[in-house]
Symmetry: C2
Subunit: 348 residues, 2 copies
């Protein structure tokens, strides 16, 4: 028995008419949580007719009536970044059970675009937002939007913000890298820092520097911060270090894997070998960095878990729960791009 015609616009009214009851009765009969208000015989009949006619609830109309759209906005800076995808993946999985779907937009790390998107999402009456694109200057509009709809920060923290967030501990990550270097005997180190207005990077920087200071290591300060966390910027910063310092670091911390890749190119061009001449660490553990030669030591960024936790959190918030932020622990993935410092017998 085919669900009859392609069922363009079968409404509650159509079913009601066919069965001979009022539309509201049909509405109740089809809603599991209200079905008990309808006699079983009537209910069965309604459900049968609904199935035969191929009834499909009009979620837009329902949304207008109930004020809920079963939609969560996901706002990313750049979908091209292979590290946001897993967040979407995790988010989608987490909210699926609640019959919610993510609706996606991209800010391109531009403040005005971000503001426009935020506004647009509010217009769409999304039930909540997961934001992975917040930059320092976005705090005010973000918090103002958060008074209207629950917002969770994911992946990218935001300094001085009270918004609930799901991030991992970038400061600790930076410390772990420094500690790793220290343990391997490196004493002269440096870091290639990501953009300063994306809160992850200052935190990584602070964790790294603090540990170095405490451990009495010698941190060569690179000139500035990258404008974007991409390979070419990693290469640029690496070159600056190679040209600027009178003493070369024996270990380098790039603030993410992409920048590490750029640094790698710069080092190779100079004939410096990894890890023989210099150790290199990235951040994020992108899909394939473990298959490079040498496999890249890095800090695993649990994007998938971040996305999932953000999804779960936003659903809790919608259920009226208190906001509880999550701080996931970083994890060092030790591979072959770092190794113990062997002091050259240059004083032979």
């Amino acid at each position: 028995m085919q669900p009859s015609p392609p069922s363009a616009g079968v409404t509650l009214h159509d079913i009601a008419e066919e069965v001979g009851v009022h539309p509201s009765t049909v509405s109740r009969a089809l809603d599991p949580s209200k079905a008990h208000r309808v006699r079983e015989a009537t209910r069965d009949q309604i459900q049968a007719v609904a199935a035969r006619l191929g009834y499909r609830p009009h979620l837009v109309a329902r949304g207008l009536q109930t004020g809920r759209t079963a939609t969560i906005a996901f706002i990313a800076a750049d979908l091209g970044n292979t590290f946001v995808t897993p967040i979407i993946h995790g988010l989608a999985g987490a909210i699926r059970n609640a019959a919610m779907l993510p609706i996606i937009a991209e800010t391109e790390d531009d403040h005005d675009t971000f503001a426009a998107i935020l506004d647009h999402m509010l217009s769409r009456r999304v039930d909540g937002m997961v934001v992975a694109a917040a930059r320092t200057g976005d705090r005010v509009i973000l918090e103002s939007a958060a008074r209207i709809v629950p917002i969770v920060l994911a992946g990218r923290p935001l300094e001085d913000s009270l918004l609930p967030h799901v991030v991992h501990d970038d400061r600790q990550g930076g410390e772990m890298v420094a500690e790793h270097f220290h343990r391997l005997g490196h004493r002269t180190v440096t870091q290639l820092r990501g953009p300063t207005d994306v809160a992850n990077f200052p935190r990584r920087a602070a964790g790294f520097s603090d540990y170095c200071r405490r451990a009495g290591m010698d941190e060569i300060l690179a000139a500035g911060w990258a404008s974007h966390p991409i390979a070419s910027e990693g290469e640029r910063l690496m070159l600056e270090v190679l040209e600027g310092a009178d003493e070369l670091p024996s270990a380098i911390f790039a603030h993410n894997d992409l920048m590490a890749l750029g640094a790698r190119s710069a080092l190779q061009d100079r004939g410096l070998r990894i890890p023989d001449d210099v150790s290199l660490v990235g951040y994020n553990d992108l899909p394939m960095v473990g298959r490079l030669t040498p496999p890249l030591t890095t800090i695993r960024y649990p994007s998938l878990e971040v996305g999932r936790a953000a999804g779960e959190l936003i659903i809790e918030l919608l259920g009226g729960a208190e906001s509880t932020s999550h701080n996931l622990s970083p994890q060092l993935v030790e591979r072959a791009s770092t190794r113990e410092l062997v002091t050259a017998p240059h004083d032979a």
Copy 2:
């Protein structure tokens, strides 16, 4: 001048009341295409009040009235696959101008899930769908849905389907690999085939086999097809070939990069070097495969362009255009995992 309170529910009525006109007048004054129907003085006043009150159109209500939601569904098999992300990226960019946003769901390559999602998207009254998850068995429900709303197939073609699509020419891609092998002097070759119910793979297989036959090459047929296009399946198939054949192929075509990675592991375990002992080609040109050692020769799959073209196509369709499918050309990216066959002087 702050947009006053957080502007929870400012409606057209509120503005109308404040200005002293009818809501319909406000509606027109705020709609650029209808603004000429209201006197300039009134219009200015309305717009001023709207701005002051922080009015935000209720897109759900509008959607109910107009029947359009400014939403395009994107249905993927697996968001974890790093090759669908660029499609989303391109799609989002292409429909942004039309003030449309993608709403996303995942089928996990399961037929029932796929059917449920399709239905759900229809319930949400999306304006169109871009489907990158179609498998052979999904044709009927897909075409039935396509009678209700425009649907474009992206990335994954569907055999015997008349639906408009944006794909690239997998058959030609397969041919190009075979031709590449032939040009390098390889005469005994094999392919590690992806799942048979995802139309890309049979096409790649056919293109490859046909060329081999025409060119008089010797194709060693591997036992079966992968159940999923992933690394472990590539490894499994590779092992089968290594164990099964009495003659080893000198060049191997893995149906995608992930499977190539698996094959690579299997070869390395056997002590076979790439490309010295055997040449290897993948498919897709995933972000980092060019940085592996050796860099992987592969066919570039233009995901971004596919996404963009799909977005543009669906917008044209919404504008009432005829459906015109796109067939993008594959491109061989020649790297160091393949090389000219040097006949060993084993008859010394």
